[in-house]
């Protein structure tokens, strides 16, 4: 149990609960065919969340201070993969599924562990072309196709 983390979380949940309460006040209070409007349920839930956050906040006072040190985390690897994933999502519709998936996987594999490049390239190409071929060509699904300048 991490004291600081739970305090931050409790405050965040408190804010979320309060936000839902305030925002549900702006919703219409009546609905045709129902005595209870669309505002009641979210308002009650927001209230419960606020109360629970206060309870959590009080509980954090009893936590013992965490003394043990965290083992080292691989922040660099994680950030590279996260940024790659965000770019993957952002550019998928413009550059196309196959190219972006291939690039993401090669970056991902090489970030996880540096190894021979051609192995990563083969696996990445196999996956991206395989999924595209199976899903789009065989099952007639929709995925962003090749970019315009490539066709």
């Amino acid at each position: 149990m991490n004291k600081t983390a739970d305090r931050i979380a409790a405050v965040a949940f408190l804010a979320i609960g309060a936000l839902f309460m305030v925002e549900s006040l702006r919703l219409s209070k009546s609905a045709y065919g129902s005595v209870v409007g669309p505002n009641v349920f979210p308002f009650l839930l927001g209230l419960i969340l606020v109360l629970l956050s206060v309870k959590l906040l009080f509980e954090t006072r009893r936590y013992a201070e965490a003394a043990d040190k965290k083992p080292p985390r691989q922040y660099k690897k994680f950030l590279i993969i996260l940024v790659a994933a965000i770019l993957y999502a952002a550019l998928m519709e413009t550059i196309g599924y196959v190219i972006m998936t291939f690039l993401f996987l090669v970056v991902g594999f090489q970030t996880m562990a540096k190894g021979t490049l051609w192995k990563s390239v083969v696996v990445a190409a196999g996956f991206s072309l395989g999924v595209y071929g199976l899903y789009v060509k065989l099952l007639q699904g929709t995925l962003p196709s090749w970019p315009v300048w490539f066709q």
Partner: protein, 508 residues
């Protein structure tokens, strides 16, 4: 009699060639998922929903629902079984329900009896699956008949009981479990209100009008959350794998484990039926029970075959038993069944008492396929044990980026917007952070799935009573359900105050 003919119809559905194939793929992928470190049953099932959705896209809606639920259920119990393989061979449980199996399973492996342990686990799982199946057939009709008499008020209270049971037992802190439940319920209110048509909390973002897609949230929280954890914590799977050796158990092995398997299956089944008490509790209980019953309790922990047979039967029995509240009442009792329920709702199939009337093909097809899936698991696992042991060594280098790519593909294939892919990544980060700080994720998914139903029933009950909130305590059945729900929360709290330790369920 009618039950039997329905069951036969179910077998007809399940024995169609494409459904046999789906069941086979399901248990195969499930076992693989269970064996692979880092992906448990919940994320395995969540990850495969989009894949099955695209595989079944050529079928009619009813058939597609039946086929994909057959595949997903196969993944579910395949993963339960696969988890035991790593417990025995590596001493690292694939998921929390096979933690107990490591105690005696790994000891057996060190004595060169790993193959026998794996075989007994497979046989135990098979027997438990059959027991759960019989229980399901016997209980499904009567239970759904009772539930058919329920009005909105009773339904509301029943779902409160379901939430109370799951939140009361999940994770280390009940406050955190409740916070997660309420957050799930709140997230479910985003989108167009289906009674009045008013847009709630959408802020004119058109993607939000349909509400948060359950699939995106579940895959993000469970699958991506675990991937992020594995990357950050640099988790590797390079443990020493024990030699498997002889696979077929001897006659005395079988005689020794017959009793534990029978007791474990029954205990597991009944534990599974209770919402909230899942496979992990079942396996713990059955291990403790066997130790008490045994004539040689001193052998436990030193490679007693009963110590493998009982918990493995119990956790499979429990996963079968958990299907009962899901199918008959529409109340998922665990994280994985909540995800199965979300998958059914995606196909416009509402689990609950009407399921057996409205979609008999789905309900009975699933029940029959559980039997077929169990047979397949047995056939698949005895000879293929050595292959699965190889899968354990899949380098995480390839595995983790591929899981991300599969998640992105799945979400995009179903939703066809990059908005949901961003949402997926956001929920992945959130899932990692929450799990890291002991916030259980299953209650959130449960809240998200049950939210619309709870709200609708609450509003219908209140409309019928002209806005009088006392309606929930005036109806006797509803009152009883609410009292049970209250006790479910209050009793552990009182016990905690008196300084007793409570067993919590962490597989949720």
């Amino acid at each position: 009699m009618s039950t039997l003919s329905f069951l036969l119809d179910g077998f007809q559905t399940a024995l169609q060639p494409h459904n046999l194939l789906f069941a086979f793929i399901g248990v195969l992928i499930g076992t693989t998922v269970g064996v692979l470190p880092g992906i448990g049953p919940i994320s395995g099932v969540a990850l495969l929903i989009p894949v099955t959705a695209s595989m079944t896209s050529g079928l009619s809606p009813e058939q597609a629902a039946a086929s994909s639920i057959i595949l997903l259920a196969g993944v579910y119990y395949g993963a339960m079984y696969g988890g035991s393989t790593t417990s025995i061979l590596l001493n690292t449980p694939g998921e929390s329900s096979s933690v107990v199996t490591t105690l005696d399973g790994y000891q057996m492996a060190r004595q060169g009896r790993a193959g026998v342990a794996l075989a007994i686990a497979a046989i135990g799982s098979f027997v438990a699956g059959i027991v759960a199946l019989i229980g399901l057939v016997l209980l499904a009709e009567p239970l759904s008949n009772v539930a058919l008499k329920f009005g909105p008020a009773e339904y509301f209270s029943l779902m409160m009981l379901g939430l109370a049971a799951v939140s009361g037992l999940a994770g280390k802190s009940m406050t955190k479990a409740w916070i997660m439940t309420v957050c799930g319920l709140l997230l479910s209110t985003i989108g167009l209100d289906n009674v009045s048509g008013v847009a709630r909390f959408t802020y004119d973002i058109s993607y939000l009008y349909g509400g948060l897609e359950f699939l995106t949230v579940a895959v993000g929280l469970f699958a991506l959350g675990e991937v992020f954890k594995s990357i950050l914590h640099n988790e590797k799977n390079d443990g020493e794998i024990a030699k498997i050796g002889r696979i077929l158990p001897t006659k005395s092995d079988l005689r020794e484990s017959a009793g534990p398997i029978a007791r474990g299956s029954l205990l597991g089944f009944f534990t599974g039926v209770l919402p909230g008490a899942g496979a992990t509790l079942a396996s713990f209980f059955s291990y403790i029970l066997e130790k008490k019953v045994s004539k040689h309790p001193e052998n436990f922990g030193k490679g007693a075959i009963a110590g493998v047979a009982a918990p493995e039967s119990a956790n499979n029995g429990a996963s079968g038993g958990a299907m009962i509240p899901l199918l008959t009442l529409g109340i998922p009792g665990s994280g994985t069944t909540a995800i199965l329920m979300g998958a059914l709702i995606m196909y416009n199939v509402q689990p609950g008492p009407l399921l057996f009337d409205e979609h008999p093909e789905v309900a009975w097809g699933l029940i029959a396929s559980m039997f077929i899936g169990n047979v397949m698991l047995l056939i698949l696992n005895m000879p293929l044990v050595k292959v699965f042991a190889k899968i354990i060594q899949t380098p995480t280098k390839y595995l983790l980026p591929l899981i991300i790519a599969i998640s992105v593909f799945g979400v995009y294939a179903v939703q066809v917007t990059t908005f949901d892919v961003f949402l997926l990544l956001a929920f992945g980060l959130l899932g990692y952070w929450l799990a890291q700080h002991d916030y259980p994720l299953a209650p959130l998914v449960l809240g998200l799935v049950l939210g619309p139903m709870i709200e609708n029933n609450m509003r219908r009950a209140l409309t019928a009573s002209n806005g009088d909130y006392l309606v929930f305590v005036e109806k006797p059945i509803s009152l009883v359900l609410l009292i049970i729900a209250f006790l479910w929360i209050a009793v552990p709290m009182v016990m905690k105050l008196r300084g007793k330790s409570i067993i919590v369920n962490e597989d949720m």
